[in-house]
Symmetry: D2
Subunit: 319 residues, 4 copies
């Protein structure tokens, strides 16, 4: 293998740039040429491909987002579209490809592997929603962003005897909510796993108020579970707290990556290069039991996400 490529796909996540930097430099240190593919699979199909040198990735380790750009391309499911991608890679002589993204991006990588391009997936999504790894690039930064903002809400909540309802990202996976709930000392955490029962939420808030003498309260809830504005109104009506809703939204995707996101992204990037050199294909990387390992993508996609029950029980003891 002489030439490899890298692309970022799906939603961007802080730390993707650290992975790109590691891939470029580790690749060059191992004697490879490294090519950046811009705007995800779209750029692969449109031949938006450029060779990257060491200097091209200087200082990007500190930047959020992805300097390669990202996009979603539904049509990549189609064989004829993927054939274009393979043709473009062959034109450049690129034999190995590293894809940074989530499950959807892995599916693309798996399909390309079957067409003769050696592909390695790196888990990059702020949602931590990939079953085959304990950690995805961007999750730690997103979580710290949530914490910073909930700490700000705490200031104003406690000044006004308020209950802040905070919606965080995580459509398929409640990790951001459960981790944020524990680390901010939230009173209530609602995710897909807990289920949602409005009456129960209101009752628990009244309980905290009467029996635990709380002057303010925080409810963390995953996106797409309920209308948080309505929940806040109900809280104002049915408890002595004044309810206020905040949807953190896309600010959770941005920001300079944290130490943990930088270091693990760097390790993933370096490891992916070593995997390609070793001739691996159709595999994705994961952090499992503290070690960085590679797993067959097909197996990875079939794994069920771990239950967070132990965390919910921990939260119950601490609230």
């Amino acid at each position: 293998m002489k030439k490899i490529g890298v692309l970022t796909s799906g939603g961007d996540a802080p730390g993707m740039n650290a992975a790109i930097r590691a891939i470029v430099r580790s690749g060059i240190s191992s004697g490879l040429e490294v090519y950046g593919i811009f705007d995800g699979y779209e750029g692969l199909v449109n031949n938006n491909i450029r060779r990257l040198e060491r200097g091209d990735v200087s200082d990007i380790i500190t930047q959020g987002g992805t300097t390669l750009g990202s996009a979603r391309l539904e049509e990549f499911k189609l064989l004829e579209v993927r054939k274009k991608a393979v043709a473009n890679l062959e034109k450049h002589g690129i034999e190995g490809l590293i894809v940074i993204g989530g499950d959807g991006s892995y599916r693309g990588a798996m399909a390309l592997s079957e067409m003769g391009i050696n592909c390695i997936g790196i888990p990059g999504t702020i949602d931590n929603d990939i079953a085959s790894t304990d950690y995805t690039i961007g999750f730690d930064t997103a979580l710290n962003t949530v914490i910073l903002n909930v700490d700000k809400l705490r200031d104003t909540s406690s000044s006004h005897h308020r209950c802040s309802v905070v919606e965080v990202m995580g459509n398929r996976c409640g990790d951001l909510a459960i981790y944020a709930g524990i680390t901010t000392g939230a009173e209530i955490i609602i995710t897909k796993e807990t289920g949602y029962d409005e009456a129960e939420v209101l009752e628990r808030l009244r309980y905290f108020e009467e029996y635990k003498k709380k002057r303010h309260a925080i409810v963390i809830i995953s996106e797409k579970i309920t209308d948080t504005e309505l929940l806040a109104q109900k809280i104002s009506q049915h408890t002595d707290f004044s309810g206020r809703s905040t949807v953190l939204g896309h600010i959770q995707r941005g920001g300079s990556p944290t130490a943990r996101d930088r270091i693990l992204a760097t390790e993933f990037g370096d490891k992916a290069v070593q995997c390609l050199i070793a001739g691996e294909s159709s595999r994705c990387l994961g952090l499992v039991d503290g070690q960085i390992i590679s797993i067959d993508i097909k197996e990875a996609l079939a794994m069920p996400k771990k239950s967070r029950r132990p965390f919910f029980e921990l939260h119950d003891r601490l609230v």
Copy 2:
């Protein structure tokens, strides 16, 4: 004058604690006893009043929110309610009162002044919506919070060829939007003063895209002008940008105060004490032409807010 009181009223703002600290310590240094009144005018009516010593305000200069709590009390407009407040103050021998808040809080202070309590108002609101001062406590912190978050959105916007629509606080006053727009390099700023024309917004975005080759764009808009979610959808439909809406909400109220909010709040607090000692009443403080001055509250409430036209013209030159 031997005893003075302090309360915070209306929406809380970072820096209120710095003002409280300055009032307590400057008051004690001048030989006064200082009383904290909790939860705004409500605490005044309910006699929720406690003497504060130097040590009671240690380290609060770093904290957001207000350690005295705040609340809105519509009934304070009623004479009989205010009579209770005056009776409580007299019970404690408190002859002077410092009220930190916005225009509504000033009206309460003016009414109390007419009933024999010497009152001084300090401008404390993140909206910068008080006409009689160039600056209100909390505005600088809120503005920096907006900037930090828009900088995060920029990361993710530029990764995805997006247009971020960001709603900031400021119902009656567009200062947060216009200052945030200039300091984040936003493409479009929409406030009450500019008015809102959806077709024009879409046309300008298309112009930025085609003629200025912008890969991403930011629109800053004051609250209660339009539904930002709908505007984002329209942007996705009618331009090549993918529109995304973010409502920053209550996080703008929180956070450790910035240098500027700490220093000006401290100066306001100290000055308010000197005003009471000098026998002033029914006056509010302001920063005007770089100086801290006091103005008659009635006059202050009648002033029109300055136009920000020069800033909009500046923005046009820079975009």
Copy 3:
């Protein structure tokens, strides 16, 4: 076991409060009374002990430092001093003790265990210098503080063609330096493990300048290896970079804890309570292969610290 105590010892670390909160609340949830011992072993000897309720630890999860205070007490090595400590614990009926700190604190806990008090150690030090665990409370926050500040130095270094020499904490253990070096993209990392050769440092800087065309450079170095001010002067004299030294110092100990420090401190605190309930003694907790486990303190103290050679090799590939 009905009553347990908790103390923090040695240098403070962000996240200690999160552990204290977890111990208090998890203990109470398990039917125990929990006592706070103030100022470390000194408070144990001086009977500075107070029962803690749920509300006493409200909101401390967000605070750096330790609300219990910390101190070093050399005399705790003496049997007669420890007898006083045991007598005080017995007076309160405290049968189990959780000690948050480093190796020195573990030794005290081991000695107390031998005198009949069940003791559990929790690793709390920003240096990550405890061999029996992959992670110590406070390390992640300290590392992020270093990164934030080196990112600031990068701004000014690149404006002036400078080489910034940055001294970070870690007397016995170079983890802060090596992790900071990788995550900030530093050109050179110097720790006890690498050794220090001034001529080699200067030569490598000249190499980076000439062959890699670097406009600025960063050197991260552990404390107590060399005088960084002198090194900076040598850099100015013997390379084309203008050398500047920065000693980050005690700011590395402070700040609101990161997500990772909050969550792991919380898990450690909860686990320590479970260990005491299970009758364990003279054991310390660790994060090993991603799991929280308990180890005999004597064994733990005898373990050698893992080599960071793989990280240095990674750094070489990336620079």
Copy 4:
């Protein structure tokens, strides 16, 4: 006037990029061509000059440092050196020059003005050490950096009954120290203006300890007044506090600029362009009584810096 240039000179300061952006875009909006001169006066002499377009300054408003680079050039005092500079400007047809920097940079601008190049100075230095303006670009960011770090030191100081001695920048001017002292609630502030008496410092610390029952203390001191490490040792020896010294150093120069630095730098940049268009020369800008004005450079350099006595008196009332 058709073509203007801009350079940054002396120590870099956050916000310089915001000024550069404003100059480039405001200049182009007014029909001018704008040229960037790299590495200060050195680049002027070496003809390191390049035309800048709107897109060249995209997003730099968020970045610390200066994208134009900066350098000190002692030889610029020599007429023959300045003749080279003038020749280079004439070669490009540049008739007006905006210099962002401190007093030294102003002297260069004054000298060039006498040689027929219209020059306008913008105050850019984190020290706030320019007498002709109440504010210099970078001061607000540096001050907020100091506050953030002192707040971190407070965490660890209060955990250990410590006195933190913090050295901040400001060789000729104590503004960073006095503003930081007030906004962090420091016990003692030492600047050139206060003078330094070690015995008095120790006595005041003992007083705070005994009479005000302070558990920790903070001393803020300007650079080059005394050896802070030695002072910390004396504090450990002669008071009950454990003294610790921190030299904040160059981190005060870095970081993304605050709102205030961004907005004022933008206004200064825009105003400087208007001044050149109006035919002004040998003038520097200032913020005086809340207004942006221009002053003759010669007069500006002769002004004495305002005394900060009122701030020291304010500090005495609050401590």
